[in-house]
């Protein structure tokens, strides 16, 4: 029997965290072939459940919990005057405990042939009821084990988990994860360990998802090549993040110390370079010159924009045009390239490739705007105002600085040094202005434009999935 703890971070007060992939990786690593995976929440405000990962259904569940145990119903647990030995940071969370009563605190999932036994629509969720927080689950795996390496070596395990985009989408997602794991397994430890920490810490995997979706559009659909390309694009993205974190002096990413913070800038530069080179090699080895050129051009745009981004910090907070120029390079270029490269790999028509490239470009800009909004959200799990503190381009801040009412005060504050109080004050002024709604509307308009790009071409039934993906890029802050 193997026992261990897994940690994850939540970003909202109530949140359904799909931990199926995390559990699948644990089973894979353990080499468990036939047996059981037991899991137990180590918190009184985190529940466990098995259900369908369908965004609207998850909203229904959240609504149900809200109706059954409303936040403001008045709970004796929250009457601190009547309680003893309460911590200084004791939260008002009677509702969260009551909601947990409606869920289980433990679960068992069967494992057969090294795979979680789950129905087509089943996913395993940890349900955050009092977030955002760092959370921990206890796992025990028991049964018959084989060597983990044997299991990792399988090229295409059958998928038993379904995503809203169907079994094919789930299987493809697994292929990218396996390809990432396989690539990291063969790399020297001084580079693979920092990258593994970053990859395993999460990330939305949007770029590989775009590659895989668009690689299914043309007549030559090859899931393994698409997974190889998707994994390479994800490694490339992470390599740029490692250098960015050094440049931005960021201490944490995805809830963990950055490579530069943990191991120093010298190691960060080397790890970034290694995976930049490895990703370009993996892409070259796929053997499609158009794909190679597409990704290489995007990488060049990212680097050029990063230089512009840093240069613009002298004129912080900048203006709308500068913002768009930087974001189109820094973020949207790889989104657009991922879409185009997938389609090129599948030998889709030029018309389709171009439409998807435009879709990716618009989606990338919308995604970055939504990311900017997260900086002002107290429930995001990140400190509010990090972009302000680091003087990173931020559209809400640009709009607020141009606002007739709060703009002069914001600009005055930004001219001085930015301590905690100043950052809080600026964030408050931005929030009190109409800037957040303005950016939200602009991001939504870009998503609408991205969706319109899809209307002009034949997409072999993938249009609804691409539309859903585009909406999810901004829904995370709505």
């Amino acid at each position: 029997m193997i026992g261990k703890r897994v940690r994850f971070e939540t970003t909202n007060a109530t949140e359904f965290v799909d931990i199926t992939e995390l559990l699948r990786q644990e089973v894979l690593r353990s080499g468990l072939r036939m047996g059981r995976l037991h899991l137990q929440s180590l918190h009184t405000t985190v529940g466990l459940t098995v259900n369908e990962n369908e965004p609207l259904l998850l909203r229904d569940f959240e609504g149900l919990l809200q109706r059954l145990a409303p936040e403001n119903a008045g709970y004796e647990h929250d009457d601190f005057a009547r309680r003893f030995d309460i911590a200084l940071d004791e939260p008002v969370n009677g509702h969260a405990h009551c909601r947990q009563l409606l869920l289980a605190g433990f679960a068992t999932v069967l494992v057969e042939d090294g795979e979680l036994v789950l129905g087509r629509w089943q996913s395993v969720f940890a349900v955050e009821l009092d977030g955002p927080r760092h959370r921990e689950l206890a796992l025990q795996l028991d049964g018959e084990f084989s060597s983990p390496a044997h299991h990792v070596g399988r090229s295409a395990p059958p998928a038993k988990r379904a995503r809203p985009d169907g079994a094919k989408g789930a299987r493809n997602t697994d292929l990218v994860e396996l390809e990432l794991a396989r690539q990291l397994l063969v790399d020297p430890e001084p580079v693979s360990e920092p990258m593994r920490r970053l990859v395993e810490a999460g990330g939305k995997r949007l770029r590989p998802k775009l590659v895989q979706l668009t690689a299914g559009i043309g007549p030559r659909s090859e899931p393994l090549r698409a997974a190889a390309l998707g994994a390479a694009v994800e490694l490339l993205h992470n390599a740029t993040l490692i250098h960015d974190d050094y440049v931005d002096e960021s201490t944490h990413r995805r809830g963990r110390p950055t490579v530069a913070a943990a191991e120093g800038p010298e190691r960060a530069i080397a790890v970034g370079d290694y995976y930049f080179a490895k990703a370009t090699r993996l892409i070259a080895e796929i053997g499609n010159r158009d794909v190679t050129s597409t990704i290489a051009a995007a990488l060049e745009a990212i680097c050029a924009s990063q230089i512009d981004d840093v240069a613009l910090r002298g004129a912080f907070p900048g203006d709308h045009d500068s913002y768009l120029r930087v974001v189109r390079g820094k973020t949207a270029a790889l989104f657009a390239a991922a879409c185009a490269a997938g389609a090129l790999l599948s030998e889709a028509s030029r018309e389709v490739v171009d439409a998807l490239r435009r879709y990716g470009d618009l989606l990338g800009v919308a995604f970055q705007m939504a990311d900017d909004l997260v900086d002002f959200s107290p429930s995001s799990g990140k400190p509010v105002g990090l972009d302000i503190r680091q003087r990173v381009l931020s559209l809400p801040l640009i709009y607020a600085a141009e606002d007739r009412t709060v703009g002069p005060e914001i600009r005055r504050l930004l001219e001085g040094s930015l301590g905690d109080a100043e950052v809080r004050h600026v964030a408050g002024l931005v929030t009190s202005s109409g800037a957040l709604q303005h950016v939200r509307d602009e991001a939504q308009a870009l998503v609408d434009a991205a969706v319109r790009e899809l209307e002009t071409v034949e997409l072999d039934g993938l249009r609804p999935t691409l539309i859903g993906l585009a909406h999810s890029a901004v829904d995370r802050v709505s």
Binding site: P190, V191, E266, D273, F276, A284, E285, T292, A296, V310
Partner: protein, 126 residues
């Protein structure tokens, strides 16, 4: 060989050209003589950009300041695009492996092998 052939590939890198990139570029011209004439300047520039890029970044030594690192990153990215345009697949792979070797050594704290030797070998990979 005319420098004009690569003028447009030097966007944002003009100051580097004056500051040693041109000499490094010329050092690779002989090694690319066996390639198609149109590919030769791009390949020589790609190799020179990698050599200058990793030097700017401080790979294997003291880390560069952020703006210098970003310039080094741009050199590597530009090189990658030039190789995608002009190099056979085997040479693209060989160049990437050369950078992997350099950076793996740097990450492990080992002595970084001479960049030029690795890149000259990579140019032989076609």
């Amino acid at each position: 060989m005319s420098v004009h052939a690569i003028d447009r590939e030097l966007d944002r890198l003009e100051s580097l050209w004056e500051d040693g990139l041109s000499d490094t570029y010329r050092a690779y011209l002989e090694a690319v003589a066996g390639y198609e004439p149109t590919a030769q300047p791009k390949l020589a520039l790609a190799a020179a950009l990698i050599e200058i890029g990793v030097r700017l970044q401080g790979l294997g030594g003291r880390a560069a300041a952020p703006p210098t690192l970003l310039m080094g990153d741009l050199c590597l990215a530009r090189s990658s695009r030039l190789l995608a345009d002009a190099a056979p697949q085997a040479v693209q792979v060989a160049f990437a492996r050369a950078i992997e070797e350099l950076s793996a050594a740097a990450a492990a704290g080992r002595a970084v092998p001479p960049t030029r030797g690795l890149l000259l070998d990579a140019l032989e990979a076609r």
